[in-house]
Amino acid sequence: MNGPIKKILVYVDGTEGSITAAQYAVVLSRATGADLNALYVVNTRALEDLLKARIFIKAEEEEYKRDLEADADRYLNHVRSLARKKGLAVEAVSVSGAVQVEIKKYVQANEIDLLIIGELSHVRSRRDEFYNEAERAMRSVSCSVLIVKDEDRVWELYDALP
């Protein structure tokens, strides 16, 4: 592991794009020998904001939090499985908080060299409200960021790994 990338972090949020990003992270980890990390953030900041805004009631906040925690387990297990099939270990972690803050903290605390995220949705609006969480994280982390595109090509690369 003498290359420029020693620790990769893939941000997983359950979208198809983030799963493709996880596949690409596996491919890149195999190619570079870099350690592979996966992070899911249970977005409790958004839940708190929705409660404060009174869009959610308390029971609803708790229900959605349980849903997100179950999502975290499901998607991180999927990433573990993707890595295991290609003979890799992955440090898969779920944390709670504000997405961009938690990604930034994880990158700093674990000396991540490269953050990998899924393709960003095309946003037609110039309103800041529509920048998604991954995009906010991309702007604030200290390491380099790779945005994974072309699901078919990534699948071919992943599938071709022995």
Binding site: N43, A46, R54, I55, I57, L68, R124, R127, F130
Partner: protein
């Protein structure tokens, strides 16, 4: 998919003709049916009314965000309606609601549902923008406002 990409002319109703909470929820649900977004009107209506029975989603400043999880949709689904006169929706501040963001999500898509609701929560903080949207006279104008502001 970003919330703004879901706000298309066919899911925007301007002006709403309803005068009560049940009527406006049904009017927006039927708007989604007419747009080909849903087929089971009653299941969606019941899910939204059940949520309203737990507490009104009428916020301050004339904004309401009726929402529900339902198996009657297989992706995040949005309808938007404007009632210039306002509709009694048991809002927090007691004022009639004029701008309605209706959001539906399948039970297994809590993440995108929460992110879209959070987008709406951020939008509602901009009173000037909401006033401009409420002043719209056509669906096209609303879509343009969200896309080009």
């Amino acid at each position: 998919m970003a919330l703004v990409d879901l706000i298309r002319p066919e899911v925007v109703k301007v002006p709403l003709v309803s005068a009560t909470k049940p009527e406006v929820i049904r009017e927006l649900v039927e708007c989604l049916r007419d747009a080909g977004q849903i087929s089971d009107v009653e299941t969606v209506y019941d899910a939204l009314m059940k949520r309203e029975s737990m507490g009104s989603t009428g916020l301050e400043q004339g904004i309401a965000v009726p929402h529900a999880k339902t198996t009657a949709v297989n992706a995040l689904t949005v309808a938007l309606g404007i009632s210039p006169k306002g509709i009694e929706f048991q809002a927090i501040d007691g004022n009639p609601s004029k701008l309605f963001f209706m959001l539906l999500a399948p039970p297994d898509q809590s993440g995108p549902h929460i992110e879209a609701l959070a987008d709406i929560a951020r939008i509602t903080k901009s009173q000037a923008f909401c006033r401009t949207v409420i002043g719209s006279t056509s669906a096209g104008e609303v879509v343009e406002l969200f896309g080009e502001d």
